[in-house]
Subunit: 173 residues, 2 copies
Amino acid sequence: MDISQFIRTVPDFPKTGIQFKDVTTLLQNGPAFKYIIDGWKDRYLDKKIDAIVGADARGFIFASALAYALELPLALVRKKGKLPHTTISESYELEYGTDTLEMHIDALNKGDRVILVDDLLATGGTMSAAVKLIEKLGAEVVEITCVVELPLLKGREKLAGHAIHTLVEYMVH
Amino acid sequence: MDISQFIRTVPDFPKTGIQFKDVTTLLQNGPAFKYIIDGWKDRYLDKKIDAIVGADARGFIFASALAYALELPLALVRKKGKLPHTTISESYELEYGTDTLEMHIDALNKGDRVILVDDLLATGGTMSAAVKLIEKLGAEVVEITCVVELPLLKGREKLAGHAIHTLVEYMVH
């Protein structure tokens, strides 16, 4: 299945010049969404995975369905201030300023082998901070898996040394 | 399965006096999460449902797995400014000020029968705004389904006339 046909490009969002890759049109297609999740399920079924980690907020959508499909624990990486229990945090640079991600201190167990899931790999800033949080908890990122990749933004360089799996590439900034 | 055993109470979050019901500990239990989703799947399988609607952001987690389980379209209700395409919006009152939710104008089809999913039913403010958005698009909310309900906050009064299904009740404010 060519899933790129279900991804919509919205010009000038969130600002002029950005060609935003909108996965809501993909989510609105039940068989396409199932195709993605089932593909990942097959990919990770025999990899001795202990938990799925999803990034706030679109990453939750893909991570959650995968966790359900594999009957595995789901752990959340959230934006600052959203998690109620004791957290660890990691800040990363945005184009202007910084952002902070958090995980609960008991979100994962030491030695857990995890898959980190998001909808989009762009600069790798979010994924890099998420990897640091997971590793602070003593867990291991077996693979980072995203639906869409924007290779020109060089996320793979920022995440060098980590296995990365993506389904659709777009040569846009 | 008594799923309340997997839900953690965090005192004084997000502010003093609130007993926050934390579902992250539930999500970290693969069989418990699967139990919830499979229960909903059985409940809605023969109800001629056309789409699942999830509310930003924890609602995405439960809605997404249900959409996958039923192989149905997933539509998103998001906080203002997050959706890239043309939206409709609905504001609702918070304790201090207002908040605004949005849906894409093409998130649902006219006549769609939908299930609206969130983690928590409290005052019903979010769910009420989400129902209005769904109905503006010409779709019908067959049932509102949440994991946790706080009956003392009277969400059912605000949502009078709508079918509501919840799994665990807590008599806290």
